[in-house]
Amino acid sequence: MSEIIEANRIDTLFTERADHILSMYFTAGYPNLGDTRKIMKALQDGGADVIEVGIPFSDPVADGPTIQKSNQQALENGMNMKLLFDQLEGMRSEIDIPVLLMGYFNPVMQYGLEKFCAKCQEIGIDGLILPDLPVYEYRKFYKEIFTKYGLHNIYLITPQTSEERIKEIDDHTEGFIYMVSSASTTGAKGAVSEVQEAYFARIQMLRLKNPRLIGFGISNNETFERACRYASGAIIGSAFIDLLEKSDNMEADIKQFVKGIKGN
């Protein structure tokens, strides 16, 4: 058996193009249990560059009301890790763009970390965002396993993260840095404030090695463009969950939403 070492799709993306990258988050199993693949396909067709599939959790402490609600609904709908992997099986026949799984650490730990990572590699997942798995724990206990299965672990930084720690994170990050736009839980906020812009500019000046995507509070073309001035792109979650909740023509609405964000 020969192993083919493929470049991680995240790295390929950022090597080819370092601006106006749009990463879209949704919670698996929401609004309906079976929507996962349909949403992913529509996101790609609409022009999204990265997809973040949320693994629902009972206690999402870093999330605001919109994503909390989608997590709860998804669990009530019957979503679980095994089912999610079943749904994602074979996705690479139709999805070419990078796909990340995002969620809290406990469900991953219960599935079994190595088994989880192996499964991710098998179905073509490129990276993970686990906000409550901190840098210290990751490096000490888990990094080796992630690396073995070709998975990037995406770190977050916030306006409160010290410059020293940002540089440490930059040294150990893989793929890109998830730049949280304000001291807050997730959620759409409408506009980007001057304070936020000053923070974006400050980080830009650090000339980090890794590309950055700005998330939390990005919801429309204006906030997306604003973020793109200071980073390689942005991440949208809550605003998209809101759309999914309201939509009665999901595929068309998703494509239109993504096009609207990108301004084309």
């Binding site: 959790f57 009972s58 206690d59 999402p60 402490v61 870093a62 999330d63 605001g64 009301p65 909390q68 709860q72 669990l75 679980n80 890790m81 095994k82 809290y104 650490f105 406990n106 469900p107 991953v108 730990m109 219960q110 599935y111 906000p131 409550d132 798995l133 901190p134 210290y136 724990e137 770190y155 977050l156 930084i157 916030t158 409160q160 993260t161 010290s162 720690r165 949280v180 001291a183 807050s184 839980t185």
Partner: protein, 398 residues
């Protein structure tokens, strides 16, 4: 309070064996890191110790008595002492920790306090010290708990605190904790989060245990006077998150001849599906910032516990207790709702003390242990039953 090095104490990275750590999102990192860097220097400064012990003495009413319960002793065939934490100001041991943390918050330059509460005892203890220090106080409480603990909601309001309902999830203690954490994420600069138990990310479990350790420090002094020895044969305490048990066990951790008995709430029965007996039902997991034993589904979703006592109604236990369980240093028992209520009335009739229903679980466990007549048993009577009158009345078996 002395700095002690125990093999059961937390290590430098915040672990008790494999449990503990700080599993927090990056948004909380600066606050938790600041606390981790500074807490020991702050709390062992002589000026802090003087302020802390001064308030414990004159405001809380410490030392609390170690009372020889002769009729209870006769019933169980051992020498049973009650550590009277129920006589603390505000009615439970919770205030030991809030006094410590409010002094710490002041020294960190924080202006606002947030807290979570289940039954409302920690909320009241937090609102109390905030009133004392003139600090703004917001307490998160599950909407369901607010309805079943109305008098404590009003006590907090009288004390000037704002009580905010946690409306997400199951709307009980774990959700109140989620909301308090979210509040801290959204307000990182001037706010200190006073966690009420030995749970949460490092250094909280260790910090809260140190503040509560005054309980076992006093036990030793009092036992020496009454029994001529500092060490009992048993220390018995109830465990929800486990702050009163941590305080009662703390200074006995390294003396294996002292049996440490932790009593969890079995609710309707361990296998009834309505229980909070975490070590009997849970497994290794991560919640609220630490790795511990957790009640959860196969898929890793946190299971809603049940106990008649809101203070024990938590799906996890502190990482220190998870380690005591895992290393077999502690004996973990449980008592059902019914057993606890019967024991609460028993103590009322035998000793004229109506215990909090949390503490009644510890009393119920006395009947599950086999004592020798000369065994010295210290039971940590963590709270008084005033807050639980409605539950006693509704139960009605007296």
């Amino acid at each position: 309070m002395e700095q002690t090095i125990s093999k059961y104490a937390v290590d430098e990275q915040g672990y008790y064996g494999k449990f503990g750590g700080a599993f927090i999102p990056e948004m909380l990192y600066p606050n938790v890191e600041e606390l981790k860097e500074k807490y020991l220097d702050i709390i062992y400064a002589p000026e802090f110790q003087e302020a802390f012990h001064g308030l414990l003495k004159d405001y809380v009413g410490r030392p609390t008595p170690l009372y020889f319960a002769s009729r209870l002793s006769e019933k169980h065939g051992a020498k049973i002492y009650l550590k009277r934490e129920d006589l603390c100001h505000t009615g439970a041991h919770k205030v030991n920790n809030t006094v410590g943390q409010i002094l710490l918050a002041q020294r960190l330059g924080k202006k606002k306090i947030i807290a979570e509460t289940g039954a409302g005892q920690h909320g009241v203890a937090t609102a109390t010290v905030c009133a004392l220090m003139g600090m703004e106080c917001i307490v998160y409480m599950g909407e369901v708990d607010m309805a079943r603990q109305r008098p404590n909601v009003e006590r907090m309001r009288i004390l000037g605190a704002e009580v905010r309902p946690a409306k997400s999830g199951s709307r009980t203690l774990k959700d109140a904790t989620n909301e308090a954490m979210r509040h801290w994420i959204n307000n990182p600069n001037e706010t200190h989060y006073i966690i009420g138990s030995v749970v949460g990310p490092h250094p909280y479990p260790d910090m809260v245990a140190r503040f509560q350790s005054v309980i076992s420090e006093e036990m030793r002094e009092q036992l020496l006077l009454k029994e001529g020895t500092e060490t009992p044969d048993y220390v018995v305490a109830c465990v929800g998150g486990g702050s009163n048990a941590a305080g009662a066990f703390y200074h006995f951790l390294d003396e294996p001849e002292v049996q440490l008995v932790a009593v969890e709430a079995a609710g309707h029965g361990v296998d009834s599906g309505k229980s909070a007996a975490t070590t009997a039902l849970g497994r290794d997991g991560v919640l609220h910032g630490s790795r511990t034993i957790l009640m959860q589904t196969e898929d890793g979703q946190v299971v809603e516990p049940h106990s008649i006592s809101a203070g024990l109604d938590y799906p996890g236990i502190g990482p220190l207790h998870a380690h005591l369980f895992d290393s077999k240093r502690g004996i973990f028992l449980n008592a059902t709702d019914e057993e606890a209520m019967v024991a609460g009335v028993e103590l009322s009739r035998l000793e004229g003390i109506i215990p909090a229903i949390e503490s009644a679980h510890a009393i119920a466990a006395l009947g599950k242990l086999t004592f020798k007549p000369y065994d010295v048993v210290v039971l940590n009577l963590s709270g008084r039953g005033d807050k639980d009158l409605e539950t006693y009345i509704k139960w009605g078996g007296y």
